[in-house]
């Protein structure tokens, strides 16, 4: 979910070397007996630390081993390196059997051919695709192709607001339109307090927000044939709106332009330094940061009012983690059993309630743990107002190019240089030029 430049480098390197791997790799052999197999599983860092993830996954895996006799050797990989490792595994043919991937990587990884495609027959072995939420299933590969992975944890963006601070400022309900948000911000700003936190230095956060706002304006970053169309009035308007948080609306501390680690804006919200933040489902992190649960309010991201012509009422991109199987695995049926286990209803309930994410199978929502107002809000966002990022092979190049351009624009806005529409247009054009388009 947060590919870094280093990981893009390795992805590229891997793809260049892929034809070599194709010669030397052994095809996956079907294993007759699975009961004594050992699987290697690469998990991503969903919890508050790598050790935390091991503590969460450990008991679940023990359950699995007891039930099936299959051992699982789990490794938790930090976000800064996971894409590196996945692509290196693709190239060298030596990798895990099962792995987590960021769902926006699905189209790119699908193109490498390294993952097992979940055709209807394969899907059937893990329980069929109808169990999954449509929203989650939409971010599992290129349209028209079989999913290259199955959704494991679902996430979406929402507007987190501080109920106590809202009440103290006399605001009775969260804003539903951007105009309301700005008006609320004025009330909250008394006393030098900053209403809205933004992770302005993060490629991922910027690109996700730009995508969501662009959808609201009716824009698109790729046309139907997959060609990039970055510099359009709608996209410019979306980015301008982001800049205005700092420069005209004055809702956001200019310092936020430096926030690049993917954590600082949330910390500001959790510690009460700001009243609002637009973030993915984060109940686990908020608890660990010590925020008072009664103060946590969740609402969909505001929409423009009125929604412009051609605009869609989108408030989030489809975020989440998918689970995939390496084509080179020697334990295909054991791997399928593990995937089936992890996407089974009890596991979905347990893992997602621990991590604070959303189950990807509809049956899991029967569990009362997911009947809280927050989860209900996220679920309705995911099912009614979420759109997947452009499912094209150039997707991660797009994310990095435009996300980085926005980082530079935020830096300009923060240091006092007014960002104009033409500056944004030029930045988008240059970003597109980097994709060779």
């Amino acid at each position: 979910m947060r590919p870094t430049k280093l990981s893009t480098l390795a992805l590229a390197a891997a793809l260049v070397a892929a034809p070599l791997a194709a010669c030397g790799s052994s095809g996956s052999s079907s294993s007759s007996s699975t009961s004594h197999a050992t699987l290697t599983y690469w998990a991503t860092n969903q919890g508050t630390s790598l050790q935390d993830d091991l503590n969460v996954l450990g008991p679940q895996i023990t359950k699995f081993t007891k039930a099936t006799g299959i051992k699982v050797n789990v490794q938790v990989i930090p976000w800064t390196t996971v894409l590196n490792q996945i692509t290196a595994a693709t190239v060298s043919g030596k990798g895990p059997d099962v792995l987590n991937i960021g769902n926006t990587w699905s189209p790119s990884l699908q193109a490498t051919g390294a993952l097992v495609q979940f055709t209807p027959s394969v899907m059937g072995q893990i329980g069929g695709s109808s169990r999954f939420l449509t929203g989650s299933l939409s971010a599992t590969g290129a349209p028209g192709k079989a999913p290259t992975a199955v959704p494991l944890y679902s996430l979406a963006y929402a507007l987190y607001y501080n109920k106590a601070q809202f009440a103290a400022a006399g605001i009775s309900s969260p804003p539903t339109t951007w105009a309301e948000l700005i008006a609320d911000g004025v009330k909250l700003k008394k006393g030098g307090h900053w209403p809205l936190a933004i992770e302005g230095g993060s490629v991922a956060e910027n690109i996700h927000m730009a995508f969501e706002l662009s959808e609201q304006q009716g824009g698109q970053f790729f046309d139907s044939s997959g060609k990039p169309t970055f510099n359009t009035p709608q996209n410019v308007a979306a980015v301008k709106q982001m800049m205005n948080f700092i420069q005209t609306d004055k809702l956001t501390n200019p310092s936020d332009a430096q926030y690049s680690k993917g954590t600082e804006a949330l910390v500001d919200y959790a510690t009460g330094k700001t009243s609002m933040v637009i973030w993915q489902a984060a109940s686990g992190s908020l608890k660990q940061l010590g925020m008072n649960a009664a103060d946590i309010g969740v609402a969909p991201v505001p929409l423009p009012s009125p929604v412009p012509a051609g605009g869609k009422p989108i408030t989030s991109m489809v975020a989440g983690i998918n689970m995939a199987i390496f084509k080179n695995t020697k334990n295909m049926s054991a791997a399928l059993q593990f995937v089936k286990f992890m996407t089974s209803t009890p596991e979905q309930e347990s893992l997602n309630s621990t991590y604070g994410s959303l189950p990807t199978v509809s049956a899991a929502y029967a569990d009362p743990a997911f009947h809280t107002p927050a989860v209900t809000t996220f679920r309705s966002i995911l099912s009614s107002s979420a759109a997947p990022m452009p499912p094209v092979p150039q997707e991660s190049a797009f994310e990095t190019a435009v996300g980085t351009a926005i980082i530079h624009l935020y830096a300009d806005a923060a240091t006092g240089k007014a960002v104009t529409d033409s500056m944004i247009a030029q930045a988008l054009t240059q970003a597109q030029a980097q994709l060779g388009g």
Binding site: T4, K5, L6, T8, L9, A12, L15, V16, A18, P19, A111, T112, G113, G201, V203, P254, S255, A257, Q258, S260, P393, Q394, A397, T400, A401, T404, I407, H408, A411, D412, A414, T415, K417, T429, Q430, A433, Q434, L435, G436
Partner: protein
């Protein structure tokens, strides 16, 4: 026989060393001794380099990444794209090049000055000299990633010590950004100087140690003060050391990747867009490796030309000295 790469002999007051006789062996021994080095260089440096140059003539984009043998031959079109200063890519490359030149020049000048000043002032023994020398070497001894992460922490706008200090002494009135915006260039320069000047200090100190003290005494008798002694004794005798030091510092600073990458993270501000990072981002953001390789080859050619000119001019200067 003049050796093109060796530092030339300086002038000392002692008798010149006996002429070197190299054993002329038509033997195999030297070749055998060099085999490991040659093999490693071929494997790690030369062959990949040639492959990199080869890629610059291909249109190796994401379409052909998985089948690079089929990537179409692009001739010089990658190079044309990159030096087209009217286009987005060429313009950005030129900007990055200028930024890097400025950065290197300032870092070089200041690091050398600091190193020279410190070397001169610690040339003669005084109490605590050993401690001072040790302190000065610490920035160079610290691993880059550890020390530059610390600088990142120090330059944070709201929580960093730099802003705190500047506020406390009333040099600024409100907290400034040091890691984005215009100031980011100066931050990078300061951090680079912080790391480089101890190296200059080390080399210059080592060089000064071989200057005999009677030369200084002779100069003092002739009426030179401290500054005069530096100008007439130290600097001329350090010329061979300085020639190499400046060249090495130039190459290392110009090519530096780790310091700007650790300081600014994955998206450096445009004001501090150092060329090694620029090329890195340009190749791997767009997955247009042909273009990225073309940029790298141009960079290499530039450094080659500068080095050759520098060495040639230097040697001519030596002969006339």
């Amino acid at each position: 026989m003049v050796d093109t790469i060796r530092v030339e002999k300086g002038v000392t007051a002692s008798a010149p060393p006996p002429p070197r006789k190299r054993r002329w062996r038509r033997g195999w021994l030297p070749y055998v001794l060099l085999i490991p080095a040659v093999l490693l260089e071929l494997l790690i440096h030369i062959i990949p380099m040639l492959a990199g140059v080869g890629i610059s003539f291909l249109q190796l984009t994401e379409l052909y990444l998985s089948n690079w043998r089929a990537a179409p031959f692009a001739g010089f079109s990658n190079y044309a794209l990159v030096v087209n200063f009217n286009g987005a890519i060429g313009q950005a490359l030129l900007h990055s090049f200028v930024v890097t030149i400025l950065y290197t020049a300032i870092v070089l000048a200041v690091s050398w000055t600091f190193g020279m000043a410190a070397a001169v002032f610690t040339q003669r023994a005084f109490r605590g000299r050993g401690v001072i020398r040790t302190i000065f070497l610490i920035p160079y001894a610290l691993p880059v990633f550890a020390s530059v992460i610390t600088w990142n922490f120090m330059l944070q706008r709201d929580t960093g010590v730099v802003n705190q200090l500047l506020l406390d002494v009333h040099l600024i009135h409100s907290r400034a950004f040091w890691l984005i915006g215009q100031n980011s260039f100066y931050s990078l320069v300061v951090v680079a100087i912080w790391r480089s000047w101890p190296f200059a200090f080390l080399i210059l100190t080592a060089g000064m140690q071989s200057i005999p003290t009677d030369l200084y005494e002779a100069a003092a008798i002739d009426g030179s003060g401290a500054i005069g002694q530096v100008r007439h004794v130290t600097l001329p005798l350090l010329r061979p050391v300085n020639r190499v030091l400046l060249l090495v510092l130039f190459l290392w600073t110009f090519n530096d990747f780790t310091v700007p990458f650790t300081l600014f993270g994955s998206a450096p501000p445009t004001q501090a867009d150092i060329i090694s990072i620029h090329i890195y981002e340009n190749s791997f953001v767009s997955w247009n490796f042909g273009t990225g390789s073309a940029m790298s080859v141009l960079l290499l050619l530039f450094l080659l030309v500068v080095t050759v000119i520098y060495l040639a001019v230097g040697r001519r200067g030596e002969r006339h000295a």
